[in-house]
Amino acid sequence: MIMFVIRRIASMLAVLLALTIALFTLQELSGVDPARAYVGANASADALERTRVQLGLDQPAIVRYVDYLGGLLQGDLQNSLRTRTPVADGLSTAFPATIELALWALGLALVLGSIFAVLTVVRWKGAGIVRVVLLSGASAPTFLLTMLGLLFFYGQLGLLPSGGRSSFGSTSPGPTGLFVLDGLLAGRVDVATDAIWHLILPAACVAISPAVAIGRVLVDGLRINLVSDHARTARAAGMPEGLVMLRHAVRNSLGATLSMIGIQAGLLLGGLVVVEKIVSWPGVGSYLDKSVQASDFPGIAGVALLLGVTYVVLNTLVDLLQVAADRRIALS
């Protein structure tokens, strides 16, 4: 058990190291000159050269990589070519917005996926329609869903806001940077509900395709377990069907579902970037979009690093959670 945890964390660190090597190599390939980011486009060749020496850019690649890695460990993600300020600063203000959206999207995906799975398994009559809606939603590009949602719920009904995170300014009223949570903590129910109205549409659009994937895995698990020997024995012993579902079917399907959630969390990132651009969500996706428009590679690499690290750490946690739920995994 302890060996498994150690091995899992070591492999996580190796993967993260590989990520930094990949990003460093890509930066070299992209031909971006970090010294430019410090001195600006109009600086003299002399000043540029001085900055280059100052930043150690005249050193061989391996030395620069070690510098880069050292910087990363201290939270230095280099300077953006677009804003000429540290990428880390820009991302630290954008990250809470993305976290909030991602958590809501993941939560919605879980709820939708489970509802969908249970309806399918108990063969509720309307499940067919739900299935068609969700499946075609999952085939649609996220940008189409979001725009159709905006067109209908904002343009036609005027029910949801057109975009942004909050009608109460861009700073959260609390310490976490998550509007709903901070709003509730500060006793500002109006801020929290307003934030929820802003969250619903983008979160739902991102959630649909993970919801279908999670629902599928859950359906498979439930089906197999509901006809399994132990479920049959439980029924024979007089256990009510609801309890069989809960204790024997749902519980045993959680493992596979959990790893699917880990995978989907990664796929969700692509959707987030697109949705944030459309509803002007001030998160990492919008930051990435602006960096792409400005060909600002340090900005893009910063986003990739942040999302990559989040994803890898998250999946390690999922693995560890799975072992906690089922010790047999650690042995295999």
Binding site: L26, P141, L148, L151, G266, V292, F297, G308
Partner: protein
């Protein structure tokens, strides 16, 4: 909860699964999917011939709604003909999906075949590399690679191709290993059949159908993923007709002139749905054998 059917025998369980299956396919749906895909491919190939206007030249007044005379799907904010641009966009979507899938199958196939058939440290090394790629969110890596190479059609292709092979590598390795453990291959090893011949005559034909099925089921998702990349500006630069970037450029007109951003999005949806249907058809055809 009494509505849950309690199948008591194996046969009932299979029937039950079949009845509530995710997709209940008939030969008709399969055929329709394949025909629709063939039609879309044909339209894409013939785009230069059937498009009424050039996709990158002003064709008329801006903001004409769909159904306007001479402009079946209307015009966009510049005055480009939307139908013509969508036809070319479809062409580039299909072409890029074909290129990425092909490269993924070739690279992943070679890696998986080597790993599965040689085994030992080759297997170990190659699979570690594959796992490394699978440990990251693919779309983020694709974006970063495409951005590092500078926004263009080929950068986007390279970016996605870099993350699209590991799944095939893992799949092929698994298949190859299961084939290699079968008696006729053990017999071949004992009879001294050389590695290259075993791969060519026994292993490759064995994995082909699984790979073809997986690849054809992948096309829909790939088309959507690449349109997302193009949407955030990681595709061909501005006037080039791509469905994703058309939607992104039309976004500002969403509320007044909905067709400008929505139609290209519907184009992606249509292609993805048809590709999914055709993928299912291929799976049904190959697994029925």
């Amino acid at each position: 909860m009494s509505v849950i059917e309690r199948p008591t025998t194996g046969r009932a369980a299979t029937k039950w699964t079949r009845m509530t299956g995710w997709r209940s396919h008939t030969a008709g749906v399969d055929a329709a999917g394949l025909v629709a895909l063939a039609l879309l491919v044909l339209v894409a190939l013939l785009a230069p011939v059937i498009a009424p206007y050039s996709p990158i030249l002003r064709a008329g007044e801006a903001f004409l709604p769909p159904g306007s005379p001479g402009h079946l799907l209307g015009t966009d904010g510049v005055g480009y003909d939307i139908l013509s641009r969508m036809l070319f966009g479809l062409r580039s979507s299909i072409a890029s999906a074909a290129i990425v899938i092909t490269s993924g199958v070739i690279i992943g196939g070679i890696v998986g075949l080597l790993a599965g058939s040689i085994g030992g440290w080759v297997d170990n090394g190659l699979m570690r590399l594959t796992d490394l790629f699978l440990a990251f969110p693919g779309i983020v890596i694709a974006m970063t690679v495409a951005a590092a190479l500078g926004a263009s059609f080929s950068s986007a292709l390279i970016g996605v191709a870099v993350v699209w092979w590991p799944m095939y590598a893992r799949l092929v390795r698994g298949e190859v290993r299961s084939w290699a453990a079968r008696p006729h291959l053990e017999a071949a090893v004992l009879a001294g059949v050389p590695w290259s011949r075993r791969v060519r005559r026994h292993l490759l034909p064995g994995v082909t159908s699984t790979v073809v099925v997986t690849a054809s089921l992948d096309v829909g998702g790939l088309v959507v993923a690449m349109s997302g990349l193009s949407f955030i500006g990681l595709g061909s630069p501005a006037p080039a007709p791509e469905l994703g970037s058309m939607a992104a450029q039309g976004m500002e007109y969403l509320l007044q002139f909905w067709w400008i951003p929505i139609l290209p999005g519907l184009g992606v949806l249509l292609l993805a749905l048809v590709a999914n249907l055709a993928g299912d058809a291929v799976r049904d055809l190959l697994s029925r054998r």
